[in-house]
Point group: C2
Chain length 486, copies 2
């Protein structure tokens, strides 16, 4: 059976919202609940403090997001959870009270849909939290709990909170705060499937799945796909798998994964040895700077790894709530951030902007990367304009979304590739070197459709282009990029 | 302002359901969730084991309850809770998964209402549980939790589960599993008020309140009454206050309380020194057997203690989930159980049958009193017929519900009283002695309305009656009771 992934994802521009730190608003009718002591919005984020961002705040920010041009919102978890990142799920059916309430969620979803945004939620189905009811019942009732088989208990009494004793149950990376589900229990499986279906029925457009590679039960994600697509065939399912995800990208499980390999390659090329070694994301280790040939090789291997239909719905990213900010990895070098974004918005797969990258938020390892979205006077307005332009281009040229990918040139610090569909062709060139690049793209006869169209309209960037029959000459200023369209 | 309590309560017969042990049914569509390992239904109940009774089971039992004749159901807690009695609330808005789900509750409420039952739920608003989200967040995030002020924290780190350390937060009777709310926090107060309103909006007919005397915040229960009655002016609010409840029965707080003083007096009179001292409920200590004059004195003091409008909506009981069964306190003496029931069903206030008393379930201190409701072949069918008759009488004669109460005779082991309304009068006589009683009720001219009506129709019990002008002669066999109606 042919692999099928959602068309809307291929044409989307995602924006990742970390709800605790994105926007805060306390409506009068929720003042009683939400006026609580919080960490200062602009103070460095901490592991356990809350900034109090909420869904009411997001509703107010939808105009900003629409103006930015993004078309899909991926929310890190919003379900009730005793952690500011909310990956410690306490209740899969409830909105976290600090984020507002169910009314806030319903209003947000409705408003987002009315403005044309898709909405993807984060599902943490490998593990729950110590407060999650079925685990809490075991903690409270010991061997008498009817829910024993929901987790993998190894001894009594449970030492869930006493760090001086070994945690005597299976937990995610042996972190006792996150007891791992026993996915071999059919009840657990059905429970998770029903959660998956439930929120689709409530109108969300997809699931981002936390550490799905840790779930070992046979056919688990195949069933999840069937159940979710059974509710909405166009639902997007994207896994968080930072390394080789081939096993899960067979078309029977996920539509894509968070494309950390793309982020890793792009950092290695664009940031190169400008890198701040102290905050290299562990997903990127071992970090080795790449020149253009190395980048081209990595990118082509990556593109060859998965079916094209899947490539088009990979969730591409430069950074996330789990990594240092790209800008900070580049020690604040704004040019690197720009060139990285240029590659992000022109690569096959859907680009995902981690909230605030578009206005130049900096941040090291988590939780530092999860800073409160700053007031407008602190924005990097040049970065914002740049992002807006790239988003407009991404949305205007379908070839950037679904066109073929062809490396055209990769030498030293200069990398050039094309995105080509039947109707249009674009050439994207990046000169990451300190010198002006004057290059001749020959052998273009290998790309006949490109030669037919001969894109020569510089819609982005600086430099010049000149077609001479089957040859294209490009002049690109140092550390610049450009896009030629037809 | 005149005190007002719900009329329906005055005419109701309550049945108290302990959901874990009352009835169990697993519908096919919930098999995936509910087929779990459980304590054997007929095994002695334990503190931490579950029998798995559920709401689906209760739905199936409604015909039985209708046939029994009761008109109102009081459920001990049904909200999500990691304890078989479910007084450790984990979520005030969710039905416990072992009890079924929200669909089960909605169907139960609908079916119960269609059959004419009122439904009262148990609200545990003094304390929550360690798994309750707002406490769990404090446990997980320590001083960074936004919800610190929801409880009364006294030190860090919280020793919620480590019994070797003092529990460094305020909990109910210093039991660390039940952290006590900080009711002085307006958010906590509002949260509880909204829970109270919410379930009324869902259609329940009232609240039984767990240990409400432990809530010290000014005007808390006054506001709760206003909020609840604001949703449904006919809602019933009954507190669990085992001792003198005068302070809460001023008409501004509760419509009544669980009338343990009535149960205590009735046990002391009817069971007397047949008592099993090992299982006397602590509510009844110090236990002293009473003869008829002592009982009359106690009952009259009890009736004088609260306004009459409140008396009529007291929740009278012989036992509950918190006490040994009346039958067992009487060492299995069925005659005591019958005479106790006779007094229960003829006393002002609404009678409350603890599930299974009507079929002769025995049981000592909790949890033993919470046995699985047995299969029909184990029922005491004589007890059941007796209960049915008394319930029929209670419902037929409005004077038993709202008529005046008048002691007519109290000597040695014989106690006689009347319930008198404008239309009818009943005389209830109990001879708790081992000898036949032949008594003359003179001085009846003090009760002119009784003399007008002269009830002489023996609708229940054994013995004989004979009116001679203003005198009534009664002959009552040993350890018997009777009811004369007009």
């Amino acid at each position: 059976m042919a692999i099928k992934t959602p068309d809307w994802v291929k044409h989307a521009v995602f924006y990742q919202i970390y709800p605790d730190a994105f926007a805060r608003k306390v409506p009068p009718h929720q003042k009683w609940l939400l006026d609580v002591p919080l960490e200062d919005w602009d103070a460095p984020p901490t592991y356990q403090g809350y900034k109090g961002g909420n869904l009411w705040g997001v509703i107010d920010k939808l105009d900003y997001l629409q103006d930015l041009g993004v078309t899909a919102l991926y929310f890190t978890p919003i379900f009730r959870s005793a952690s500011n990142h909310r990956y410690h799920t306490h209740d899969y059916y409830g909105i976290d009270p600090l984020l507002g309430d169910r009314e806030a969620f319903d209003l947000l979803l409705k408003a987002a849909h009315e403005k044309g945004f898709k909405v993807v939620l984060d599902g943490v189905f490998n593990h729950a939290s110590r407060g999650f009811f079925f685990f809490n019942d075991i903690l409270e009732n010991g061997p008498n709990s009817p829910w024993l088989d929901w987790f993998k208990i190894q001894g009594w009494p449970l030492s869930a909170y006493d760090g001086s004793l070994p945690a005597n149950y299976v937990s995610w990376i042996d972190y006792r705060a996150l007891p791992q589900f026993n996915h071999d229990n059919p009840a657990v499986r059905e429970y998770i499937m029903q959660v998956g279906e439930y929120w689709l029925h409530q109108g969300i457009d997809g699931w981002r799945l936390d550490v799905p590679d840790c779930v070992k039960a046979d056919g688990f994600w195949e069933e999840f796909r069937e159940r979710v697509k059974g509710v909405n065939p166009e639902a997007y399912i994207v896994g968080e798998i930072a390394f080789d995800a081939t096993q899960w990208l067979d078309g029977k499980q996920f539509d894509g994964v968070m494309n950390y390999p793309f982020g890793r390659l792009t950092a290695a090329f664009i940031i190169g040895d400008r890198v701040d070694k102290d905050i290299i994301p562990h997903f990127y280790e071992p970090y080795e700077p790449l020149d253009a040939p190395g980048y081209a090789k990595g990118i082509e291997e990556l593109l060859a790894r998965h079916p094209w239909e899947i490539q088009l719905t990979q969730l591409n990213l430069l950074d996330s709530h789990d990594t240092s900010r790209f800008l900070s990895i580049a020690k604040g070098d704004r040019t690197s951030a720009k060139l990285g974004a240029l590659l992000l918005f022109t690569f096959p797969g859907t680009p995902n902007i981690f909230y605030g990258d578009e206005i130049g938020i900096e941040g090291g390892h988590e939780p530092d990367c999860r800073k409160g979205f700053p007031a407008e006077e602190k924005w990097d307005s040049e970065a914002l304009a740049y992002y807006k332009q790239l988003i407009r281009i991404r949305k205007k040229y379908r070839a950037l979304c679904t066109g073929d990918y062809q490396t055209l040139y990769a030498q030293e610090k200069v990398y050039v590739f094309a995105r080509i569909s039947e109707e249009e062709a674009l050439i994207i060139a990046v000169n990451n070197g300190q010198e002006k690049a004057e290059i001749n793209l020959s052998e273009l006869e290998k790309v006949p459709s490109l030669l037919t169209i001969k894109p020569n309209n510089m819609i982005h960037g600086e430099g010049s282009s000149n077609w001479d029959n089957a040859q294209l000459q490009l002049i690109i200023p140092p550390r610049c990029g450009l896009i030629l369209a037809s």
